[in-house]
């Protein structure tokens, strides 16, 4: 290892770092690197396949003799399965296999805990016959008491959902409540408020599902997944197979948002059906099943206290939060530590509350959109209380140079000085009032060590990158092409990308915004290793040292001798073997510029004060994701986050009937998601930060852009109409009620 110096950071703030990378590592890209492809606008390599329909998703896989699986689920919020009679179903034409989702010997005592809980699955030779067969299974249920509402579940006499004496499971509080309360009491201004957010379902366009085909003594699986390798490992351990007996392919995925890791119950059932019938089985969930049973973002009830001194410096924060992830946990509301508050000024107590509803699953920045909705509205309230510009108040309490730069960029872009200075005091166009709001965020996503990559250069100049991880729509395949193209002096379209197959080198699950930051250094290093092999072959031909050779602009050349220059393809003819392969493991992270990424969003809204309808006119989203690999896809990713965040802010809501214990809107008609006309003008700004940490320095971008949108919109609504909405989604009924309360208070 040789010590090297790199410069990291961005134009507004940079520093030098001493690093000791392994000698096999390519020279690290830093702030001063001049890169030809990385950071430019590169259209997705698979874009044409997607828009022409050539792309084959799991849904599109059809095999000879394939059967169709369908799951029978609990119609009750809580019930004991007393008896199951499958005789009639099994006699129906075309029915080939039936498997239980639980140990069959437990019939008589098995408790189903939510409407949608799995009971069994049937495979038949058509989807219609599978559907009919599932309906023909006769089950005797013994319905049990249940609770589906957060507040009801917290009551002392609530039916117990899981076990123990209470549905509330508190985590150890962080911080000293009494000390924080004392600081709050001594603050010159403080606010106290209660916020609520709703349950959001992932609602990826492609539902969960797989096609499983028996293959020799193992299985071949096509899965709509965020984790090719986690599906492989989950199925092999569940079925007692070796990992190499399970091959998982995930060519294209129609979204995941955190709910598609591992095979899931449906994956195990589908595999068991395929093995029982000894035939391929396709099992794709329905939209209703998607809403009920495969994950959601938990709701929240957050009580926040925040104080500041007379100069506008934050003094303390106290947050007590509850949320329900149904029968599962994970309902913590991270109130992220964006601003300058020490541990001794922070108190946080989080509790999960169990209810008889489908379990939560990680969803795009788990806990953060909820927490930021409360935190950033609290910041806004305190700013108005102090008589400070909400942006100025944030700047006073934020030391992060990246976010400070982003606040300035965003404010300029949205025209922050044009907002109404008094909330609700803007110029009105009849009943329509406009306002602006801002919210900040942070995310982590530096990636880790779990990735390998192979890059192959053929004698004919063909370049192929092999990496097993999946592209869930983020543009990951394009990232692979860009990295290899950069290192070899080629264009992204010159690179063949082979990804999303468990036979290829190991890659991580697409979670925590870590796919690119984890994989990129391995691909960079593999491309570098392959290039070195090509240079070694050429060095012999040209009688120079490999270090004298460079690859750039489609050429391989010796800089000091213009006679030694060949187009890349012709240079590859120097290879003695048919091809050379560069293989690399992901290097460990070293110290970088910052361990987290920063972001902020500004929203401008127009509220119809008579109908309560909110239109979001513009969102300016500024985000850092370390080194940007593909500017075009990064901006798309940010737009996607803003749209999902807006949809969360204004529309989406899993609505449960409390007396029946069932979801009433388990479809796309009444589970409302933002459509084209609801989308604002979005300005995505990526702030490129050479983050260091490894030879690429990329950070993740999947999650951060969804976090601050709802809070920015809520703050903009307040700025527009002078009434704060404490509860998501911010629908017309809530706006009308809040305005009526304000009117009532005025006349009272």
């Amino acid at each position: 290892m040789t010590e090297k110096t790199v410069r990291v950071g961005f134009s507004g703030d940079s520093k030098e770092l001493k690093i000791n990378p392994p000698d096999t590592s390519p020279p690290a890209w830093d702030l001063d690197s001049k890169l030809a492809v990385v950071g430019t606008n590169v259209p997705r390599v698979d874009g044409p396949d997607k828009v022409t329909g050539r792309a084959k998703y799991t849904y599109d896989i059809n095999l000879p003799g394939m059967l169709y699986g369908r799951i029978l689920r609990s119609p009750h919020a809580a019930a004991i399965v007393k008896s199951v009679d499958t005789a009639a179903a099994m006699k129906m034409p075309g029915v080939k296999a039936l498997v239980f989702a639980f140990d069959e010997s437990k019939i008589g005592e098995k408790k189903l805990r939510y409407a949608g809980d799995e009971i069994l699955a049937i495979a038949a030779d058509s989807p219609e016959r599978a559907d009919d067969a599932v309906r023909a299974v006769k089950i005797e249920y013994d319905p049990q008491p249940f609770v589906v509402d957060l507040d009801d579940a917290m009551k002392a006499d609530a039916p117990i959902v899981n076990d123990g004496k209470s549905n509330v499971r508190g985590k150890n509080p962080r911080g000293d409540a009494a000390a924080v309360d004392a600081k709050l009491a001594g603050s010159s201004k403080k606010i106290e408020a209660t916020f609520r957010t709703q349950v959001q379902t992932h609602s990826a366009l492609e539902t969960h599902g797989l096609v499983v085909a028996p293959d020799g003594d193992g299985i071949k699986v096509w899965a709509s997944t965020q984790g090719v390798f986690s599906v492989r490992d989950g199925l092999s351990s569940n079925l007692g197979l070796k990992a190499e007996q399970v091959r998982v392919i995930s060519t294209f995925v129609g979204g995941g948002f955190g709910a598609k890791f591992g095979p899931g119950v449906e994956g195990v059932l589908c595999t068991k059906l395929a093995r029982q019938a000894n035939a391929p089985v396709k099992l794709m969930l329905t939209r209703k099943e998607e809403h009920l049973a495969v994950g959601n973002r938990p709701n929240s009830l957050q009580k926040v206290k925040l104080g500041a001194d007379s100069t506008g410096k934050l003094t303390a924060i106290s947050a007590t939060t509850f949320g329900t992830g149904g029968v599962g946990g994970g309902a913590g509301c991270t109130i992220p530590a964006i601003y300058n508050l020490n541990r001794d000024a922070t108190y946080k107590a989080e509790s999960d509350v169990f209810t008889n509803a489908g379990s939560s699953a990680a969803m795009r920045a788990p806990g953060h959109p909820q927490g930021i909705f409360a935190m950033e509205q609290s910041m806004d309230m305190l700013a108005y209380e102090l008589g400070l510009d909400p942006l100025e108040f944030r700047m006073l309490n934020d030391d992060n140079p990246v976010r400070r730069a982003q606040f300035n960029l965003g404010a300029k872009e949205i025209g922050w000085p044009n907002r109404p200075k008094v909330a609700g005091g803007g110029k009105a166009d009849g009943p329509l009032k406009r306002g602006m709001g801002v919210a900040g965020t942070l995310w982590y996503a530096g990636g880790g060590k779990d990735a390998k990559a192979d890059v192959e250069i053929g004698k004919g100049g063909e370049v192929t990158v092999y990496q097993g991880a999946q592209d869930i729509g983020t543009g990951f395949k394009t990232v692979l092409a860009i990295l290899v193209a950069e290192e070899l002096g080629l264009k992204p379209e010159d690179i063949t990308v082979r990804a999303a197959d468990s036979r290829f080198p190991y890659g991580p699950g697409s979670g925590g915004s870590t796919t690119t930051p984890t994989v990129a250094p391995a691909v960079h290093a593999a491309a570098y290793a392959a290039k070195r092999k090509l240079f070694e072959a050429l060095a012999t031909t040209w009688q120079v040292k490999p270090d004298d050779i460079s690859a750039k602009d489609g050429k391989v050349f010796v800089a000091s001798d213009p006679s030694k220059s060949l187009p890349f393809k012709k240079a590859c003819a120097a290879l003695t073997a048919d091809k050379v392969t560069g293989s690399a493991d992901r290097e460990a992270n070293y110290d970088g510029y910052r361990g987290n990424t920063a972001g902020c969003q500004f929203a401008e809204v127009e509220v119809d004060t008579e109908t309560g309808v909110v239109r979001v006119l513009r969102v300016v989203a500024v985000q850092d994701a370390g080194r940007i690999i593909n500017k075009l896809c990064s901006e798309s990713q940010i737009s996607g986050g803003v749209i999902q965040g807006l949809s969360y802010a204004l529309f989406e809501d899993r609505i449960m009937d409390k007396s029946a214990g069932k979801m009433v809107n388990a479809n796309f008609m009444e589970y409302k998601i933002a459509g084209p006309k609801d989308c604002p003008e979005i300005k995505s700004i990526v702030l490129d930060v050479a983050n260091g940490r490894n030879s690429v320095g990329a950070m993740g971008l999947g999650e951060a852009p969804v976090i601050p949108t709802a809070a920015a919109i809520a703050n903009a609504i307040y700025n527009a109409i002078g009434v704060r909405i404490f509860e998501l989604p911010m629908t017309p009924d809530k706006i009308i009620a809040a305005l009526a309360r304000k009117e009532g208070a005025k006349t009272a």
């Binding site: 119609p75 409407a115 989807p127 219609e128 559907d131 009919d132 309906r135 329905t286 939209r287 209703k288 009943p431 008579e610 109908t611 309560g612 309808v613 239109r615 204004l650 529309f651 609505i655 449960m656 009937d657 409390k658 007396s659 029946a660 069932k662 009433v664 809107n665 388990a666 479809n667 008609m669 009444e670 409302k672 933002a674 459509g675 084209p676 006309k677 609801d678 629908t731 017309p732 009924d733 009308i736 009620a737 009526a740």
Partner: protein, 333 residues
């Protein structure tokens, strides 16, 4: 995706042929035009007719004719065709707008006006096989005590609190349209207001059609020609959403005054709801902000909202007022 149950399928090339295929009970056969509503009901297994009678193959049911102020529309005309009809846009803007604001472009391209008038309610309890509600033969209306933010506010005496889902129906009531209904026993003409049925009269059906009936024509009388009309729909989402409140107004204006008018509220009651007191109030009065606001108040005077939909009361006041004031801009030419 849920799959369809098994059924037979026949093409009918004329109304007579279609009627010949229908049976005495609803379960025997269903008319199949756009299929937008029908197939959804079948996939959810709320309706499993043994046979679908395709009437898209009956060309005589698809026309828009405007003659001497009278408008005649065949039931197979799509919402998109009504919305884009240049003459209707000018002469009957409330109808063109109501059709054009429904659902999505894709759905409007398929959905027929006949099917739109006959569609079943969008109440989420009715639409889910998980809830055996009264309209499906069950014991209770889940919405009354349950999740009712999108339900009716005119609920007095009603055992079920759906709102009628047809926006075109709201406009057609405002125009005083008539429906020609054929069956094997002959043809009858029904005033559109009498076409829709309240739950207290029949909780299982939303209109007077029997299993052997077919709407053959929608007629807007010549008396509506030259009237001003307007339609406004307020919804949460601006792409593909059902209205929280929609209002159609058709008025005979004489100078600045309202000579006569019909004000119809959609998404307010189990049938398109006429605000007769507001209509009476406006007679002979100038169409101004004050009178429009007063009409809005009168329109919701008898509302008895449910636990979660009180917001619709002020909302309808606003929408009635705005629709009346919009008449000025959309006066028929």
């Amino acid at each position: 995706m849920s799959s369809l149950p098994v059924f037979d399928y026949v093409n009918a090339t004329s109304p007579a042929e279609a009627m010949g295929q229908l049976g005495a009970g609803w379960s025997e056969a269903a008319l199949y035009a756009g299929g937008v509503d029908l197939l959804d009901l079948m996939k959810e297994r709320l309706y499993e007719p043994k046979k679908l009678v395709n009437i898209k193959t009956a060309p005589s049911l698809k026309y828009i004719k405007v003659e001497n102020g009278e408008v005649r529309i065949g039931p197979l005309v799509t919402l998109a065709e009504i919305a884009a009809h240049p003459e209707l846009q000018k002469s009957h803007p409330a109808l063109a707008r109501a059709a054009g604001k429904a659902a999505t472009p894709q759905i409007r391209n398929l959905a027929t006006i006949g099917g739109n008038l006959c569609q079943r309610p969008r109440c989420w309890y009715f639409r889910s096989e998980d809830f055996p509600c009264m309209r499906k033969g069950g014991e209770k209306c889940f919405a009354k005590e349950g999740e009712n933010r999108y339900h009716a506010i005119f609920t007095e005496g009603e055992p079920c609190v759906i709102v009628h889902p047809s926006a075109a129906g709201v406009a057609l009531v405002a125009f005083g349209a008539q429906l020609k209904i054929a069956s094997s026993s002959g043809e009858r003409t029904v005033d559109i207001e009498k076409f829709f049925v309240r739950p207290k009269d029949n909780v299982r059906r939303e209109n007077v059609l029997g299993p052997k009936d077919l709407i053959t024509e929608i007629v807007i009388p010549a008396s509506a020609a030259g009237m001003a009309s307007a339609y406004i729909k307020i919804r949460e989402k601006q792409s593909y959403d059902w209205p929280l409140a929609d209002v159609a107004v058709v008025a005979k204006l004489s100078g600045a005054n309202v000579e006569a008018c019909r004000i119809v509220l959609g998404s307010a009651a189990p049938v398109p709801h006429r605000a007769t007191e507001a209509e009476e109030f406006l007679k002979g009065k100038p169409l101004n902000e004050e009178n429009a606001a007063r009409a809005g108040e009168l329109a919701v005077k008898d509302a008895s909202p449910l636990e979660q939909n009180a917001y619709k009361v002020p909302l309808f006041k606003t929408v009635v007022r705005r629709t009346l004031l919009a008449l000025k801009e959309t006066k028929a030419s």
